[in-house]
């Protein structure tokens, strides 16, 4: 292998400009050059057009490229079951006896990353994987220069995959359209082709073209832009709706437990936020326990959080709430006290600092529907998850006797007893269920926001707002309220800014309650008066 | 007169010293116009809940000073009718007039109560946290606006009136007990007492003798008959003996409309009434 490389190097060196150094010396220089001078070396390395350098570039981009202090040999850091190990970039052979103390990182910064990405893209134009090729071409759209154009033109006829072909043609068209030396008709034709693409770089190119001195070209570009913009706007609306839904799903998750403890049981549960917080911390602990299985940690965390928060809920119910029957307002006082205690408890155990909860790889990134519309995966999962939890809860309350019993207990405790309902058990179970669900919400929220002692505080007010807005005691109301508020917020935000949007939503709630003093879905009937 | 003079005149009128501005003048508790002898007109009332017709084209006329008994099967709409009259529920259609002039449907509960329509609820509702005495004091016929209430003092006549009522309802000993601690029957009496002190023109009484002993029932009957004449009383009751002992005219409701109306004897022999309400046996008595 080594020989092969040196052979190649010799080959290249023979027709490279004289000042160009060999790959080997360039790599050698990596270990000594200052950060600000590194871009030069990248350029020179790129000029080698050597595919075998790809792993080096990739590792560098990822910040994994190191060199051994003694030998100046370039190595790549990999992760073997949570420990650092080092491999040779060219052979991928693991190098024994090197530990993190023996190596030093080859620095990388934004400028370098940008360069490296371009270099990698160029090298990947001939990759075996069609997706990679498409990505590579897209990467190059930003500035298609003569070389790229030539390379692409060369590759185009050989390309078999249609998507890649289209992307290539887009790149070619950009070049043609921008190229003042080509004929007006071919430029206009190229622009017309570009009109069908939503790629950002295409739009930027068209923007430039619309100021072109050639009037026909400028007109064509304008036309294409109008068309593109119309589509972009349509997708922006979809995007906004998605933002609204996903904010709604967060609100739903945060408030759904409260819809039980407060809405159904009538306990003004100020410690609800802390139940969410406990769930989030449970996620953190679960990830601590299984650092190598972050991807699966969520599946452990969900039941664990349910149990932790649920048991805490049962404990609170048994120790405190159960002595406050018939005194709903007092529950406010007691649970407020409990929430202070829980917050401080967490602060004492886990320190006041935020804890790090990692996002499983399958939840990060986004689902790209097209270049202008992509939905972030974690939000998407959380939306689905919120709906799932909601359905499960509705199912539990409708199908098991628990739902019926808890409503009976909250409406007339002593009569429920006289009918043989085990009120204490029902109370404990229901409060546990509500708290447990809050815990599950905590798992979801840990993916979006800080996991710290104040996590619960941030959501408690919104939660009450949602439950009340939807109509106390009505689960469906909670669902609709959460999504309404989420969407309203997100549609207001672009015009008013985040702060005003929040204020307007609050004012809207206040006014709405005037119209419907019992929320969206009020309890009806004689007894409700 | 020129327009200018007109406006001067208007201004003068506005600032006349011998009278307060109209918007400051206390609202006169408008008189109930009963020139046609009729005090309550209920016409074409319809009210449905989620598609269920609780009141169905109901017509009812009550004379001034009359004692009217309202009977009817459970769920016939008696309580609902009272709800409509007192402004608690708004009907889908129909009209309710108090005297010739007062359209009750445009007024709210407090207005209606101030016009002189008092009500006793089927399920006794009193102010549980306050004493029996306070319950009665609150029900007194007084100026019920905020400021006058703030500066109100009990006048000796009012105290006498409350005392009188306390002895009528037999709660003299419990006068300083919290109303919430009364037994069911005692609450019934208290509520009747609250009605009495408020000195209403029209009394709507929903099942006054439920939970009372026979003798108490008799006393209630006496009380109600004595009230009639000066006041108008509408009583709902299922106790036929009681109804017979007080009734002059009886109206039978069924499924939200009037089924029959007449004297007790007429009603008792009415086939329909027997079938849906009284049952064979009761009719024999």
């Amino acid at each position: 292998m080594k020989y092969l490389i040196s052979f190649c190097l010799l080959m290249f060196a023979s027709w490279m400009p004289v000042h160009a150094a060999s790959t080997e010396t360039l790599l050698e220089q990596l270990t000594t050059t200052k950060l600000s001078k590194l871009p030069d070396i990248v350029e020179q390395l790129a000029a080698q057009e050597d595919e075998s350098l790809l792993p080096v570039f990739r590792a560098w981009l990822a910040g994994d490229l190191h060199y051994v202090k003694d030998s100046n040999a370039i190595v790549v850091e990999i992760d073997v079951q949570g420990n650092d190990a080092y491999v040779d970039p060219f052979t991928q052979v693991q190098l024994e006896g090197i530990s993190s103390k023996d190596v030093k990182k080859i620095k990388v910064n934004n400028k370098l990353r940008g360069l490296l990405r371009g270099v990698i893209a160029r090298l990947q134009l001939t990759s075996n994987n069609a997706d990679v090729r498409e990505g590579a071409v897209r990467e190059l759209l930003a500035d298609v220069d003569e070389d790229t154009f030539a390379a692409l033109e060369n590759l185009y006829p050989k390309e078999s995959n249609n998507d890649v072909k289209e992307m290539m043609q887009t790149a070619l068209s950009i070049y043609t359209a921008m190229d003042k030396s080509s004929s007006q008709t071919s430029r206009v034709a190229a622009i017309e082709f570009l009109g069908g693409s939503l790629e950002n770089d295409v739009r930027n190119a068209l923007l430039k073209l619309s100021r072109d001195s050639n009037e026909a070209v400028a007109a064509a570009a304008d036309k294409a832009l109008v068309n593109i913009n119309r589509q972009v706007e349509r997708y922006a609306l979809v995007d906004q709706l998605f933002f609204g839904l996903s904010l709604g799903s967060v609100l739903l998750l945060a408030s759904i437990g409260l819809a039980i403890t407060f809405g159904v049981m009538g306990v003004i549960n100020m410690a609800h936020g802390e139940m969410i917080m406990l769930g989030a911390y449970t996620t953190y602990v679960v990830q601590l326990v299984m650092p190598n299985y972050i991807d699966y940690s969520i599946w452990v965390a969900i039941p664990a959080a349910f149990l932790v928060s649920g048991l805490m809920g049962v404990l609170i119910e048994r120790l405190v709430i159960c002595r406050l029957h018939g005194r709903p307002l007092e529950t406010l006082l007691a649970t407020f006290g409990i929430s202070l205690i829980l917050q401080q408890l967490v602060r004492t155990i886990f320190s006041p600092l935020n804890r790090q909860v990692s996002t499983p790889s399958w939840m990060s990134g986004s689902w790209e529907i097209n270049p202008v519309l992509s939905l972030t995966l974690n939000r998407l999962y959380i939306l689905a998850f919120a709906l799932l939890v909601f359905l499960a809860l509705v199912f539990i309350l409708k199908k098991s006797s628990l739902g019926l019993n808890v409503r009976a207990v909250s409406q007339n405790r002593s009569m429920a007893k006289a009918m043989g309902v085990k009120t204490e058990w029902v109370d404990a179970m229901t409060f546990g269920l509500g708290s447990g669900i809050a815990g599950i919400a905590g798992v979801a929220l840990s993916q979006l926001t800080n996991v710290g002692p104040n996590l619960g505080q941030a959501y408690i007010i919104d939660s009450f707002m949602v439950v009340v807005f939807g109509g106390v005691g009505n689960l469906l109301g909670t669902l609709v309220a959460a999504f309404t508020l989420g969407i309203a917020n997100k549609f207001l935000e672009p015009t008013t800014g985040a702060v005003l949007a929040a204020i307007l939503v609050l004012v809207f709630i206040i006014l709405f309650i005037q119209k419907r003093p019992k929320g969206l879905f009020p309890q009806k009937g004689r007894a409700a008066e | 007169m020129s327009a200018f003079d007109n406006s001067i005149q208007g201004l003068r009128e506005t600032f006349r010293r011998d009278q307060v501005w109209p918007f400051l003048a206390p609202e006169q508790a408008a008189k109930v116009d009963v020139s046609n002898q009729m005090i309550l007109y209920v016409e074409g009332l319809n009210l449905s809940f989620d598609g269920f017709k609780a009141l169905n084209d109901l017509n009812l006329y009550v004379n001034d000073g009359e004692l009217r008994c309202l009977i009817g099967a459970n769920g016939a709409g008696k309580t609902t009718l009272m709800d409509v009259i007192t402004g608690k529920s708004k009907p889908d259609a129909g009209s309710v007039f108090f005297g010739q002039t007062h359209n009750l449907l445009t007024k709210d509960e407090a207005d209606i109560a101030q016009l002189g329509i008092g009500r006793k609820f089927q399920k006794p509702t009193v102010f549980e946290e306050q004493t029996v005495f306070d319950n009665l004091e609150l029900s007194l016929k007084t100026d019920k606006r905020v400021l006058p209430t703030l500066f109100a003092c009990l006048s000796p006549t009012e105290v006498d009136r409350i005392d009188e009522v306390l002895s009528i309802i037999g709660l003299k000993q419990q006068r300083f007990m919290k109303a919430g601690a009364l037994s069911h029957g005692q609450k019934q009496w208290l509520e009747i007492g609250m009605l009495l002190v408020s000195d209403p023109r029209l009394l709507l009484i929903d099942e006054p003798v439920a939970g009372m002993t026979a003798q108490e029932t008799e006393r209630t009957a006496e009380l109600l008959t004595s009230l009639a004449g000066e006041r108008t009383v509408i009583v709902v009751e299922h106790d036929m003996e009681f109804v017979r002992s007080i009734a002059r005219t009886v109206t039978v409701l069924h499924q939200g409309s009037v089924l029959a109306e007449g004297t007790m004897d007429q009603i008792q022999s009415n086939k329909d009434v027997i079938e849906v309400y009284l049952g064979e046996e009761a009719a024999e008595v």
Binding site: R407, M415, M419, A528 | S183, H238
Partner: protein, 229 residues
């Protein structure tokens, strides 16, 4: 069947029941009477376990009842129709009836209830709180019957019920008593109904039982002494 021995009970600082003794025969229909506020309802709540007693004991078939919680007593076979009905207002009629099903270990509401009170079937999906007073009363009785109790406590069951249904309720009580040997404790103010349905009576005054006998022996003297105002 049910016996009470020197039961005392207080509300806050106020004593309502004073060393009260009461004995209910199995299969009897006992009518408890007394003026307003003498403590009839309180007594019933004590039997059901909704109010803690201060001293004394309550037994059912010689088994101590006063140590059990109310829900256990329901399982032991006591059914309760409270004064003022205490329907679960936001539950539908059907749900009101279903509450008691676990006690009788069955999944379906017995058809018998609807035969007794057909109106309940009509109103099955209406909220309990929306029903008229009388309908609620019927629901309350029906709800207690779902438990298939051995002892049925009825606290003024006829309050606000139309005459033909009053009669029907009387019939039902008698029928259940005869056919199934149901023991009934009935609080009733209306003498006519009490005489028709009751087999025994107990008169109460100021938290004590002051007279107990067969219903035939309820004479005007007693009535005058203990029931008149």
């Amino acid at each position: 069947m049910i016996a009470m021995n020197k039961v005392s009970q207080l509300y806050g600082g106020t004593q309502i029941l004073w060393d009260l003794d009461l004995d209910i025969e199995p299969g009897s229909i006992t009518c408890i009477m007394g003026r307003n506020g003498v403590g009839k309802t309180t007594l019933m709540k004590a039997i059901m376990g909704l109010l803690p007693i201060k001293s004394g004991e309550i037994t059912m078939n010689n088994q101590a009842l006063h140590k059990l919680s109310a829900e256990r007593r329901a399982y032991e076979g006591i059914g309760y129709v409270p004064q003022g009905r205490d329907i679960f207002p936001m539950l539908t009629v059907e749900e009101n009836l279903r509450i008691g099903l676990p006690v009788r270990k069955s999944k379906e509401i017995p058809e018998k209830i609807f035969e007794l009170f057909p109106v309940l079937k009509e109103m099955l999906h209406r909220r309990g709180g929306d029903l008229s007073g009388g309908q609620q009363q019927q629901l309350a009785i029906g709800r207690a019957l779902v438990l298939e109790p051995k002892v049925l406590i009825l606290d003024e069951p006829n309050e606000g019920i139309q005459p033909n249904i009053v009669k029907q309720i009387g019939d039902v009580i008698l029928k259940l008593n005869e056919e199934e040997g149901l023991t009934v404790i009935l609080i009733e103010q209306k003498l006519g109904f009490a005489r028709r349905v009751g087999k025994e009576f107990r008169l109460m005054e100021k938290g004590r039982i002051v007279a107990a006998d067969k219903m035939e022996n309820l004479n005007d003297d007693l009535i005058k002494q203990y029931l008149a105002v």
